[in-house]
Symmetry: C2
Subunit: 434 residues, 2 copies
């Protein structure tokens, strides 16, 4: 289908951070066909008038756990250990595919309505999450976050190895690469060197990336060093080959200068999760230092149980202002920096041809409401996006050239059925007796 | 008019932090007439079915500068001095009443739509702001933030003294106290002791409160001490009688233990503005210490040019998570704490009988959308409000028993006319040649 956006303020996120007023953006065959100030030749099946609103690349949520919508606000206000052991883990032990599907659909709707077009998800029951993403129409890198608490590793002893292979077989490359599978290691502390090596080999042999939690808390970082002769989580991952492929490292709150050098040299992306890191008391990630060291920084919401929303605009604003505040430097990070985290840098992290409005890129686009009160006036589109926009300003979400959300209506997910499934099946089943 | 809310999850914000499921809340004569699990007797002119959504007290934005919507995103990304001198002040020199009215209406609409029912505003052209608030239907404490850069103070030499008196004469007590006038001192560093004393006497003689910026930046705090023989801004205000009345001190980022003791003893409220303080690089206010010292902590968005929205839900979430993150303690602040800042504590700060759902209080109420994706499921209403809700989840805003906003429609402000005035008059006039 060919679609023309006209009368939009196009925030391109190209190398020059171009913003075009009164722009035209044409989409054809799922890709961006033209961008410019003049109306392109040709006949379009649909013309969308943006009424002066902002058209920008869809947001890339580079670290999340989408079905955790089920646990939104459950157990908040307890310390981390208590929260995980007495609230989160007992519920996670009850998951079945029907509940996963309902809660994934809820999470995907929330993301779509707030402007996400591409995500990187790490969770369990990933075959079902694959189906949800396939049906929802957005793009995702999916990983089965491998954990292994056994004594002696073998691929047979670690059920998550077999499940990663199944996930790959079922979903990798689906719909011309709309779904990609990543190798996935939950974290250094929930696993063993055998797992790191197996996932690294799995990713290398299939040409995949890897995602992993890195140095989220100080305890995790220090205990890793004690266990591994002074090596940090990043250094452990490097030792076992995990950094030999495109790798996204979530959190990175406690990474050190030595880690930043390794990450820059090996092309590892740091995924910043500012809301989650603040809420759980993990700390403030050294984002300015990571950037200065040359590390690609992307942005994620983390799971809903530690955020408690998946509104990327909220994390974008937080990313934009948090470094300024804790360093007492109003110029520590700019609106453009935060915008890059949420778009082009996320695309790079996930190995995807998206995140900017340029000819030939995937047509992953969102249109913001020109009449949203919080976007008036618009002296500077990037400033309005980073500091003033809310997810609910998204009027239209297009993934790979297809409109999947418009004016509050979901075109790929049955909203009412999903809410019914969450309320009448998933929540009663998961929280029975609680 | 008598109105009954039924089928709501009522978050009362009473002393016991009660949350009532399937609750009924009746409103009569602008006040809350009953709250309970049983339908009250009597006939109501209107029955509002909340469909299970959250009914809570309207939010109190305890520090803002409402007409600054004009400068949203204008000059962001420049250092504070450059930003103020080359962007904000030159525009402020051009204000006229027509532009103030348009931009105030825009700001009030944004606040109303995101759940604010009461605000404390400090700005200039306050007679016009009074008219805007009067027409909008919400409650406000208005202050003419006095500044004085002259050599020798006299009330005649300081135009802001006469303007404060005019503001008092025109608007104090309007509509049974819906509008109150506060004495207002912009800050220690923009004024002189004569002004502090004059405002203190003005407030005392008329029975008013006072609002003032306190210790927003380290420079301001330290320069004050150098100027005043070691006295901090709070101590200076105490010396000149400003703390003899109900006083709200905005920011308080650099206040010290001695200040907290004074504030607690004198009943001074600290108004936390977390988004503004982060964005401008001012720092992180010592909110936990202020609370421990017994200081009343309220919440404000600050002006739009340093936030850049007036969505109190955003600042509520930031308040709830920021202290946890910078102290690395997930229990440093709870959802309830942040909710209290934004409701009951704000009401106390402004000397108002609102901020909780209790019989006899002003009927300042907001209803959240039961079907907002980001509020599903609802394991704990306070957690959902503090961490997951967005301003756009507000379906209905009632001030003093009158519905002023419902399902996206403004019942007291002409939205289209305001946008036209902002776009066609205020912005061209204020930013001409820029």
């Amino acid at each position: 289908m060919s679609i023309l956006f006209q009368n939009v303020t196009a925030v391109l996120m190209d190398g020059a951070s171009t913003v075009l007023s009164n722009a035209f953006v044409a989409v054809e065959g799922g890709k961006i066909a033209s961008v410019g100030a003049k109306k392109p030749e040709g006949v379009f099946e649909r013309v969308i008038d943006g009424k002066g609103g902002i058209l920008m690349p869809g947001l890339v949520n580079a670290h999340t756990h989408v079905p955790m919508t089920a646990m939104r606000g459950y157990g908040d206000g307890h310390d981390l250990h208590d929260w995980l052991n007495n609230f989160i883990f007992p519920v996670e032990a009850k998951w079945d595919d029907r509940a996963i599907r309902a809660c994934a659909d809820l999470g995907l709707m929330e993301m779509i309505a707030s402007g996400t077009t591409c995500l990187c998800d790490m969770y369990m029951n990933t075959l079902t999450i694959g189906q949800a993403v396939a049906d929802a129409g957005l793009s995702a890198n999916l990983g089965l976050g491998a954990v292994f608490f056994g004594e002696t590793f073998s691929p047979e002893a670690c059920g998550d190895c077999a499940k990663s292979q199944e996930l790959y077989d079922a979903w990798h490359g689906f719909d011309n690469g709309r779904i990609l599978v990543d190798g996935s290691i939950h974290a250094e502390y929930t696993s063993k060197p055998g797992v790191y090596e197996w996932v690294a080999d799995f990713a290398k042999s299939h040409g995949l990336g890897i995602n992993v939690h890195i140095s989220e808390t100080q305890t995790e970082h220090e205990e890793c060093k004690a266990r591994h002769g002074g090596l940090t989580p990043i250094q452990v991952m490097e030792k076992y080959g995990v950094l030999d492929v495109r790798c996204t490292a979530a959190h990175c709150v406690w990474t050190q200068p030595e880690d930043w050098a390794v990450m820059a040299a090996r092309g590892v992306t740091a995924v910043h999760n500012p809301a989650s890191n603040l809420k759980l008391g993990s700390g403030v990630a050294p984002i300015v230092e990571l950037m200065k060291a040359g590390v690609n920084v992307a942005l994620g919401t983390d799971g809903v149980s530690s955020n408690n929303t998946t509104d990327m605009f909220e994390d974008m604003k937080l990313a934009a202002i948090l470094q300024n505040g804790v360093r007492r430097d109003p110029l520590a990070l700019t609106a453009q920096d935060a915008l890059r985290f949420a778009t082009v840098n996320g695309a790079k992290a996930l190995g995807r041809d998206t995140g900017s409005i340029e000819v030939g890129k995937q047509a992953d686009l969102i249109l913001l409401d020109a009449d949203a009160l919080n976007l008036i006036p618009c002296h500077d589109a990037a400033n309005n996006i980073a500091y003033a926009a809310h997810g609910c300003d998204v009027k239209l979400n297009m993934c790979r050239g297809k409109v999947i959300y418009e004016n509050g209506a979901f075109l790929t997910i049955d909203r009412e059925k999903t809410l019914r499934e969450v309320r009448e099946y998933a929540v009663p089943m998961l929280f029975k007796g609680k």
